[in-house]
Symmetry: C2
DNA sequence: ATATATTTTGACAGCTTTTGTCAAAAATAG
DNA sequence: CTATTTTTGACAAAAGCTGTCAAAATATAT
């Protein structure tokens, strides 16, 4: 049995912070959640602090585990990766806008 | 001496295509441009066709070489990386928007 | 068509990065 | 203080990236 605690997620948080908040809200030790993900607790500790990467499958499993929408965590995970890719780039915002156009463009005109 | 040819770059092109267009506009063989970048021509061939990555320094050198704005090629390069990171993701556009918010957010409030 | 130049391909080795494991150290809770 | 949890860093294995090379394929020119 886990505690039912109302928890408000902050969109600007990176996924690591969000995971930590979710885990602490339920007062679960790293050990427990790590076991569920089948990884070492040291890795989960690092994931929560942004020192290690988490993969897509693990994000999805966590969404189920913590009963939050998959989309919420996936968007957080993806956007973290984008932000990481753009770190220290002055052209970050321009690149994001062009990327958006490119994706819209190729979605409209599927290749082949 | 290189030919002076008016060339129009297409924003939606990936960087590889743009490089190829620039190179062909000047009628230069892979060999020549590759030598300038100090890489094997096989790699440049792959870069132009999107099979290999190009790094930041190489992008900047190419901008100088082809006399186009650094920003133009860097934005193309960065946005390609973002698109690559998001390939096959249905949440791509949402992730881009959140990434934009995150970057604006942390730029306004520099940490520490 | 032949000869020449250019481009593409794939195998390979070396290097870097990523990933997970582990145990000890540090921090926190009771 | 004791017990529990979290963090840290060293390590090895696995995966990924980079450049080199030569042969195969393609394109160009005569």
């Amino acid at each position: 049995m886990t505690k039912a605690v109302k928890i408000y997620l902050f969109k600007m948080d990176n996924l690591g912070n969000t995971i930590r908040k979710l885990r602490e809200a339920k007062e679960l030790p790293l050990r427990t959640v790590a076991a569920y993900l089948d990884i070492d607790q040291a890795i989960l500790s690092k994931i929560e602090r942004g020192q290690r990467k988490i993969n897509r499958d693990q994000v999805i499993r966590l969404a189920q585990y913590f009963e939050v929408k998959e989309e919420t965590l996936l968007v957080s995970w993806l956007s973290d990766k984008l932000v990481y890719e753009l770190e220290d780039e002055e052209l970050a915002l321009k690149a994001l806008q062009v990327a958006e156009e490119k994706i819209k463009y190729t979605t409209l005109k599927p290749k082949k």
